[in-house]
């Protein structure tokens, strides 16, 4: 038995939350969205990462990440989660070029009278961006570590291969929850909750999933590096055949439940290569997390008229499963208090122990 190195404060303390934002979310590569929704000129997506508003814009065919904040009086430039609109401010009409510099300012001479030097400084802060297949990652650090130090080449290759099968259309949901993001990360690492929390909704679809398999894991050496925290698994999935399955280019040819854990806050799953769900546990505040669902099917071989109904139907089903977790995790969050008792782990929870150890090292600023 091992006591968690994380104290209750790690789940509600504002100072610790700020340290996470600084040393994890503004330092690591963070998933920001999916590329196939950004194919058109001026297509964009917005996110808040580590407390910083970010816009990713299709600039003449290239995806670029900027701070989503006008250089004039700091109005966000784009508002919607996904959309298509040139990079321009709604407040006083400043327009930005593809490099993030201010291209035009209405009535510039009459109203602003910037010197040439001042004018030259007006531009948006740009951030590093990498795509892995259809996954878009952003890094807010001034000098980001290579993506390959955060995820192994094998894992990156897997993500690239599977995401090549994403449909052009995706359903997106933002689900506010009242708990710390780490509770959800730990929850998805913990397969032993499935029989108790999802006995009817989810367990029947996963004949192969047992915590006993996880208990065998300690043979794996303890994680030492952040790249050890991200990995993939697969188990058997009980597929319910649907007519539309014949109309898509499935990933793989096996009825697998594909499960990817991308530290710090992504759980990406695929149901037999036909349905893909990216779940992200987006920290909003110490005790508030937005669970972001991006749901796709495999890309269409021929047009599926009912695709909106298929995506919406799956989205509802996945939300019902998530609600079974949320109801418990919100209770758990409410019960946390400063008295220093800690979680106790069994051998099957080695993934949680690894995450906590490296996380603690990171927020201490010793990444």
């Amino acid at each position: 038995m091992s006591e968690s190195i994380l104290s209750p404060e790690h789940y509600f303390d504002a100072g610790i939350f700020r340290a996470e934002q600084q040393h994890i979310y503004r330092k690591l590569w963070i998933f920001a969205g999916i590329k196939q929704l950004l194919a058109e000129p001026d297509a964009f997506l917005t996110r808040t990462i580590g407390g910083v508003p970010v816009v990713i814009q299709n600039c003449g065919g290239e995806l670029r990440a900027f701070e989503n904040r006008c250089a004039h009086r700091q109005m966000p430039l784009q508002f919607e989660d996904y959309g298509q609109r040139r990079l321009a401010c709604r407040y006083h009409g400043w327009v930005y070029g593809d490099d993030g510099t201010v291209r035009s300012i209405p009535q510039e001479d009459a109203l602003y009278r910037y010197s040439a030097a001042e004018r030259g400084q007006l531009c948006l802060q740009r951030f590093a961006l990498r795509t892995v297949g259809n996954f878009v990652f952003v890094n807010l650090a001034a000098s980001p570590a290579p993506l390959e130090t955060q995820f192994t080449p094998e894992l990156l290759a897997e993500l690239e291969a599977i995401s090549a099968h994403f449909s052009n259309d995706a359903a997106f949901a933002r689900i506010p929850a009242r708990y710390n993001w780490k509770l959800n990360w730990e929850n998805v690492l913990d397969t032993n909750h499935v029989p108790y929390v999802h006995p009817r909704s989810f367990l029947p679809l996963l004949p192969g999933m047992t915590a006993a398999a996880d208990a065998a894991v300690p043979a794996r050496p303890p994680a030492t590096d952040v790249s050890d925290l991200s990995f993939s698994t697969r188990s058997t999935y009980k597929l319910d055949a649907q007519a539309w399955h014949a109309m898509v280019e499935r990933f793989g040819d096996t009825d697998n439940y594909y499960n990817f854990y991308l530290y710090p806050n992504i759980n990406f799953i695929s149901l037999a290569g036909y349905v893909f769900l990216i779940q992200q546990f987006d920290p909003v505040a110490p005790e508030r997390t937005d669970v972001l669902f991006t749901l796709m099917v495999a890309r269409e071989r021929k047009r599926i008229p009912a695709l909106p109904a298929i995506l919406w139907g799956h989205m509802k089903g996945e939300k019902r499963v998530l609600d079974e977790d949320i109801i418990l995790l919100e209770r758990l969050q409410q019960s946390l208090h400063t008295q220093d008792t800690r979680a106790r782990h069994g051998v099957y929870e080695s993934r949680l122990v690894d995450s906590a150890r490296i996380y603690a090292r990171q927020i201490a600023g010793a990444a």
Binding site: A306, P308, K316
Partner: protein
Amino acid sequence: MSGELWLIGCGDIFETIAAAWPAIEPDTVLHVVRLESPAAIATPFEERLAAASPQPRVFAALDQSALNFARFDVYARLRLGGRRFCTLIHPSAIVDATAKLGENVWIGAGAVIEARSSIGHNTFVGTRALVLGAAELAAHGWVGAAASVGARAKIGTHCVIGADVRIGAGVEVGRFSSIERPGHYAEPIAERTYIDALFELPVRIYGSARKQAGTAG
């Protein structure tokens, strides 16, 4: 109307229409083909209509499952088979003479369809729902019980306007959207938007601008 009518479908809406017979058309003999479930349309049902008299009229009655695609599938298959459809109006509904109603349209008990409104093929309007002046409902839609669609509002194909939802005057709702959370909606709603009690915030589908999909007639 006189003659025979074949009612095919399942679920509450199917039973509601069957139970309202013969008040709907007193001179028409009703035959019912009860499907086990919306999924039962995967197996052929046409032969169950084989005993029908030549050129019988048919009516597909299923609810709004899968953004009305369950009903659409039955409707489209019968249409492909050359069946003639009808429009069914509960005798207690009030339908203005200038309203345009498509085929396989159901107007429920106590519903009011005002002047110059139009209701596309295969769209169902529920009990005591209101479709106000010059509102336009596209094909394959659903308006739930006691819902209202304001004057000049425009509802796209395959939409679900849930029970007790009120769409304001002149508001446009894009196709394939489902508004199931009761309340008043005064702002336009983009296509493929889902407002549902299951989600605190609207869910959207983004991606390839799709040409009109899933419309027959």
